[in-house]
Symmetry: C2
Subunit: 566 residues, 2 copies
């Protein structure tokens, strides 16, 4: 009798079902079982903020396929012949006997299930800060659709007016934006001194913070949660940080996740330096018959070569496909990630790929960077939006190390092109020649993404010097000795004057005739809204023999508080 | 006395002004002159269809910078110290004396201007078919803003009701869409048997044609213009093709452009095999002191290595930058293009990069291709749109050779990623690992662009066989002996039944239980809306021992007329 291969997959959200589906297509006869502790499987957890925002008809939308079929247990069973055991927890792995010990919650029974190959797709759990009052009613994490439903019901029925979100990462931001409205006060509390630390450099995070604030979110930075206080019904009413005590009716914890490694560690599988399960390029753990993927494993960062823990649904699904192939005896590899992240907050899109400037400097790279601002379509197209892009490159090789994008415009398109470029090891000159799709609704003739590479090439070649937004901010704060050369038109300069600093306004159109008005031995920083006219001005003055001249990279678009009309 | 370098640039639309600006920044002291035969310079000619559609406040929008400054002659003069001679025609180049002979139209005088380095950015002229009646009133090309204004005025004031556009290329399509509305009849006349031949493969062009028709454009294929007939006032009233005589009030010629090579040829510069000016990688003509760029030169196609003539504003601007650098003594190169093209027709976006399947086959590549359909965002996101992507790859190396995209969704993002991939020589496996930005508003967890690479990898590895849309159409037309296996739900199958062919409907969810109903020795083609369920079905049947089974690549999304409800 033919031996049937037994595949057991622990975890039924993203990587697990994907691995099961792929393995099923390649191995028509294998016995495939998914063990899932929850009730539902294969749901779009990233859509939870959309559900909270009332953008989905119902929570079930997150559990259907693109064809509208519900990804139920029956669906997996009938269509894919994948057996799903839900409400079932894997409590131990017996590698000797190749068995998983499972506990069926409803029956209350423990049993064993044997495997030839095992997949750990056990995900991650929310980190809950260990502070007094964390058990109060009205304090919750937001990790699965049921929790989302409870929160939405509470908001609807209990007239919640003040909501505190703890954690200014991607999820915290998305939740904050999704809950704003109808007279609710939403406060976002972040321990670090910027939003999304590790994802964005400070000046880019600042732009995102402004957008949240413009949408009505109150952002508290540098304030870690200290404690929570409730009323007599144990309903949360206040939260405390180092800086103050604040009223609240509801607290949502979004302080990140921690990989589930207990099962793996308990059976002796190797845990990586990041604290997540260690896997090789075939997604095998230290036991070659046990694969692992998704939010419980670490990844190789393709720029730094280092191990990183970046749990993301897109990566989990890719892991699942590679694992599914390898269960069927293929030798597919998963090379690693770029830590790409994308977020929509209000009408603002933002994202990063590769290394931030901070990360690159910390890793010891010789770094050059710039910010460019501009439009995502032809500027005369009625639907154009602003795009602000930051590029970080290797000073010597010119290779792109990372990019960050923000703006109302289609900036994720540029992010994706940069991510492809970094994956393929492109340098700035190659990117400057990319033949992306041009027509007025899609791009300027020289796309802003390509313009970014050109601008950084100019700096790399020393054609002109640029000063970054944080540097300008610091110099203004320090009341340093320099002249801000405002090359906007007199009308623009009057409408949105620079706040602070010594300012000379000579419009770019008059600079060639009037440059003599600028003292030649002072430090000059030219600025304008997009960094284009000021770049022009800096080259012009340089050509006239000015030695100490530079332009503000990205322009006031990248540093809006500099010229905000009062 | 210091010798001042004299740079003369002939042509003031895209490449010329860009080269002038770049050279100015690098060479503060050079004397730079632009010679332009028209009145205006540096305008966004690609925005003309938007102007026609009434999407721009006025025609001047096309002549301003992103900062809102008019790119006038004074602007170039004052801001850039670039001298512009407009309404001036260069009539000859004296390479011996390094002089350009110029004719100033208004003064009626001829003179000479000397150069150290010369740039030919003389563009292209519209091709006007040599047919009887072409000189009638109401027949015009649409090449510059003045022509656009005349056409718009004529439509407004003369009550034009029927408009014929001759030429089904990108410009013809854009014009057709922009002129539809207010009771006007617009007919688009294309000689070839598909729209945009050379840009799209037939099945992708078919989808675009449907979109035009849905927008009310009448598309005539396979009908070349034979003659035009007018009334007693010499106003055009009819046009004739091989197939018929049609009424019309206005005819717009959009049958492509031809590079302006007369100046170059007359002074002995080498003309390339494509009929455009030949340049090397530094954008130098056969005379190293004469550069050429923009719509008058040919380019290297980076996939085929062949010389091609693909005039595009994006390429012209890139040429200008490289030429500007090299005028200043740098040695920058322009490696070539991918023939990337993007178009918006109604709410439909479409584009191509690299080679079409037709081109790839003609060039002798071993080709594999597929079409995938899906959503551009998470399918549960309220703003999702359809994306249909075609990928063409090298059967052996797996390198992506080309891609075509269509749909209401953000397909140009995927086009741009593919164009970066092809530029960098990526193969399907690399693309399948691209770490693009995922969040529900931007992508499915496995982005459709990456899904495309995965799907083609499956075909490459022979995991399953796919049948293309044109093949299925042909087989249905031939009444070939095969079974169309409809794996949609019974409800979907009833709502949009397949037109023609022998159809068996077994929903994918029931296939595993009911596959025995399908005769094992017949040819089976599974189909569904997106090609996902049918792929699943084909692998399932294969697993059950069916030998002659395949799925329809791209699904009925890619072949909508197959299941159109009557």
């Amino acid at each position: 009798m033919k031996e049937v291969k037994k595949i057991v997959i622990i975890g039924g959200v993203a990587c697990g079902p994907k691995a099961a589906s792929r393995a099923r297509r390649l191995l028509p006869d294998a016995e495939i079982t998914i063990i899932e502790q929850g009730e539902i499987i294969s749901y779009g957890s990233c859509g939870i903020p959309l559900y909270l925002a009332g953008m989905l008809p119902d929570i079930d939308s997150l559990m259907t396929t693109a064809s509208g079929m519900k990804r139920s247990i029956e669906y997996f069973d009938q269509e894919k012949a994948v057996h799903v055991m839900n409400k079932t927890r894997a409590t131990a792995i017996d590698r000797e006997k190749k068995e998983v010990v499972i506990y069926q919650k409803e029956k209350g029974t423990e049993s064993r299930i044997s495997y030839d190959q095992l997949v750990l797709a056990v995900g991650a759990d929310p980190i809950v800060p260990d502070v007094p009052g964390i058990q109060l009613n009205g304090v919750s994490v937001l990790h699965d659709p049921q929790q989302a439903e409870s929160i939405r019901t509470a908001i609807k029925e209990e007239g919640i007016k003040q909501i505190a979100i703890i954690g200014g990462g991607a999820i915290g931001l998305e939740i904050a934006i999704s809950l704003i409205g109808k007279g609710r006060e939403v406060v976002l509390v972040e321990r670090s001194d910027q939003l999304m630390p590790g994802i964005f450099d400070p000046e880019m995070a600042d732009l995102i913070k402004r957008e949240l604030e413009d949408n009505g979110v109150n952002v508290l930075l540098g304030e870690g949660l200290k404690s929570l206080k409730g009323d007599t019904q144990n309903q949360v009413k206040k939260f405390t940080t180092a800086n103050g005590i604040y009223d609240t009716d509801m607290v949502i914890i979004a302080t990140g996740v921690r990989p589930n490694v207990e099962l793996a560690r308990d059976c002796g599988l190797e845990i990586g330096e990041t604290g997540a399960i260690k896997v090789n390029e075939y997604m095998q753990t230290s036991d070659p018959d046990i694969f692992a993927g998704g939010d419980c494993v670490e990844n190789v960062h393709l720029v730094s070569g280092q191990k990183v823990y970046v749990p993301l649904a897109s990566t989990s699904n890719k892991h699942g496909r590679v694992i599914g192939s390898n269960l069927a005896g293929k030798k597919e590899t998963f090379p690693g990630i770029l830590g790409t992240s994308a977020i929509q907050a209000g009408e603002y899109n933002a994202g990063k790929t590769g290394l931030t400037e901070k990360e690159a400097l910390k890793l010891g790279y010789p770094v050059i960077s710039t910010i460019v601002s501009g439009h995502d379509t032809a500027h005369y197209h009625p639907m154009h939006g602003k795009a602000i892009l930051k590029l970080i490159a290797h000073q010597e090789t010119g290779k792109l190390l990372g990019a960050q994008v923000t703006g109302m415009g289609e900036v994720i398109k540029r992010l994706d092109v940069y991510s492809a470029a970094i994956y393929m090891g492109a340098d700035l000159e190659q990117i400057s020649h990319f033949d992306t799709g041009y027509a007025p609704p899609f791009s300027t003739p020289i796309d802003i993404g390509i313009h970014g590479a050109n601008a950084l090439l100019n700096l790399k070649e020393g054609l002109v010097k640029g000063v970054s937004v944080p540097e300008v901010k610091q110099m203004l704060a320090d009341k340093a000795d320099f002249i801000m050369l405002d090359v906007r038109s007199a009308k623009e300069a009057k409408l949105r004057p620079l706040k602070g600093g010594v300012v000379v306004n000579i419009p770019i159109t008059e600079l060639r005739a009037r440059y003599g008005e600028i003292p030649p031995h002072r430090k000059i920083i030219a600025f304008c809204p997009l960094g284009i006219r000021s770049y022009e001005a800096a080259t012009l003055l340089q050509g006239k023999g000015y030695q100490n001249v530079s332009f503000m990279k990205g322009g006031t678009s990248a540093l809006p508080e500099l010229t905000d009309a009062d």
